[in-house]
């Protein structure tokens, strides 16, 4: 379970590229051992945030700390506790996979204690690892990216679009890898626009839009706060308009209605529907996707 000590904090963090505001006034606290999801459409500022946390970019405003240490462009020692998977991962094309991992582990100055297990779980065998990286498919490169980020068991892992290019089976394995890392106390910061993935992996989530934080909270709380979609079908004609005070009507006909209803109004609606000639009733569980879309509409 996450502990109270923050692994990552940002206070009023901002970044401008000339006249373009890539990130504005971002204040977040991520606890140790937490899996934190960072959501947003392309260009929302997710990658900029991660690069600011790594000290690859200098902030235009605000500050950040990672594991209690201030993030700076210089002073590289604090990065020894980090693992990073870039959104567009690139390697040296004429280096073999094995040499690539060895080189990056040497630079990390930590033993690659989890390398063998990760290679095994992601299906990167000895033959693949002995080949030069330019012969790899996109999926294999992404797997190698995941291994290099996690092989030295970092305290904080910053993963930018980690499942890009992975087939569904490998994605499932990746979810298991993140769960295991979390179990060992690793804080995982996942940037994604795959909502199902974030919903499945993360304890908390933040949403960015045009460089600004629009929401941050528990995934479960987001779901609870989200209106449910209720679809009711009737055996005869009904005055469906009369149900409008329970929520927002999305579609209606004399024999069917589709509505968005807040959780607090759900019981009353179901009780009211029970008085009508009900043929079928579907209450869809709320998803992060709906919350996401609602924030970005």
């Amino acid at each position: 379970m996450p502990s109270a000590a923050p692994a990552v904090t940002t206070e009023g963090l901002g970044k401008r590229f000339g006249a373009v505001r890539a990130l504005e006034d971002l204040s977040l606290t991520i606890g140790t051992g937490e899996v934190f999801g960072f959501l947003g459409p392309n260009g929302a500022g997710k990658t900029t945030t991660i690069r600011l946390l790594l000290g690859l970019l200098a902030p235009s405003a605000g500050r950040a700390t990672v594991l209690g240490r201030p993030v700076t462009l210089g002073g590289a020692e604090w990065r020894g506790d980090l693992g990073y998977l870039p959104g567009e991962v690139s390697f040296w094309p004429h280096l073999s996979g094995r040499r690539t991992l060895e080189y990056l582990a040497r630079l990390s100055r930590r033993p690659p204690v989890d390398r063998a297990a990760l290679l095994d779980r992601l299906g990167l065998g000895a033959e693949t690892m002995s080949r030069q990286v330019h012969t790899y498919s996109d999926g294999m490169r992404q797997k190698l990216g995941i291994v290099q980020a996690l092989q030295c068991r970092p305290s904080v892992a910053l993963l930018d679009e980690p499942t890009k290019g992975l087939d569904p089976l490998v994605q499932q394995e990746f979810y298991g890898i993140v769960a295991d890392a979390r179990g060992r106390g690793t804080t995982v910061f996942v940037s994604s626009h795959v909502l199902v993935e974030v919903e499945r992996l993360c304890d908390r989530v933040a949403m960015l839009r045009a460089g600004r934080l629009v929401f941050a909270g528990d995934v479960e709380a987001v779901r609870r706060a989200q209106r449910r979609r209720v679809v009711a079908a009737f055996t005869g004609d009904v005055e469906v308009q009369a149900l409008s005070h329970f929520g927002e009507i999305v579609e209606m006909s004399p024999r069917e209605i589709s509505m968005l209803v807040a959780q607090k109004d759900l019981a009353a609606l179901v009780a009211r529907l029970g008085m009508l000639p009900l043929a079928d009733l579907v209450v869809e569980p709320p998803s992060l996707e709906e919350a996401f879309l609602e924030h970005y509409r």
Partner: protein, 266 residues
């Protein structure tokens, strides 16, 4: 520790090119010892030079023409465009590939997100440039020495050419530092290569034009090639002023590269 790891990585990436460049440099200087005119031939060659147009004579060095000798001819081997090109290729290739090239490829993210300081990255690139230049320059001198061993020339010792080789190393170390500064400020290896090639070619052309066109002669000190004169080194030994200028330019450019790379966004 980081610098050594980075240096090992640079060596693996560039070793084949370095071996070819060093072999090319050595072979060229050895070949020069084969074509040095013997005393009986030098009068004929002098006549050929005298008939050449003035700009051609300037390009090949007035001093060489004035003192057509085995020493002069061997010195000419160190201002020929071929060995200069070999040294330039190494300086630009490694300097631009190590910083701007890594940024452009996206591999810089993997290195810079680890406990590797930015100064370590610049230092590793600088050491790689310098070590490669030293090897290429040494290979060139070794070519001269090997040639003179099999074809001894009266009044010439291989050791006479050692200061010339050292000056060629110093000249391109200065250009390498400038290339590192360019590389430290660019986002693409190709752009950095273009800038460096332009600066090198511009410096070479400026030196040549300033020698043949007196109206712009005052601009010649702006070219680093002005401070690399093998014939003068052969005659007078190392010139302290030239050594100071090339060392100074190299040191200032390197310091600027450290400062620029430490402050930039990656």
């Amino acid at each position: 520790m980081s610098v050594l790891s980075l240096l090992g990585h640079l060596w693996r990436r560039h070793r084949l090119a370095l071996l070819w460049l060093a072999a090319g440099s050595g072979f060229f200087q050895w070949a020069i010892t084969r074509v040095v005119p013997a005393v009986a031939q030098s009068g004929f060659v002098r006549q050929l030079f005298d008939m050449a147009p003035a700009p051609v004579r300037v390009m090949f060095g007035e001093e060489l023409i004035a003192s057509l000798s085995a020493r002069g001819f061997l010195g000419f081997g160190y201002v020929h465009p071929f060995p200069l090109l070999i040294l330039a290729v190494w300086a630009v290739r490694v300097a631009t590939g190590a910083l701007a090239g890594e940024v452009g490829r996206g591999t810089m993210d993997l290195v810079a997100s680890r406990p590797v300081s930015r100064s370590a990255q610049v230092a590793a690139a600088a050491w790689a440039v310098l070590a490669g230049l030293a090897l290429i320059a040494a290979a060139g001198w070794a070519g001269t020495a090997a040639g003179l061993r099999t074809r001894p020339l009266e009044g010439v010792a291989a050791a006479d050419l050692l200061p010339v080789a050292a000056m060629s190393l110093l000249l391109f170390a200065a250009f390498g530092a400038i290339a590192l500064l360019v590389s430290a400020t660019q986002r693409e290896g190709g752009t950095a290569v273009s800038w460096c090639a332009g600066l090198l070619a511009g410096s070479y052309v400026l030196d040549y034009l300033a020698r043949v066109w007196s109206a712009i002669g005052f601009l010649r000190p702006l070219s680093l090639f002005r401070y690399y004169e093998p014939q003068r080194v052969l005659r007078d030994g190392l010139v302290a002023g030239d050594v100071a200028v090339l060392s100074g330019v190299g040191a200032v450019a390197l310091a600027a590269a450290f400062a620029a790379f430490a402050r930039r966004d990656l």
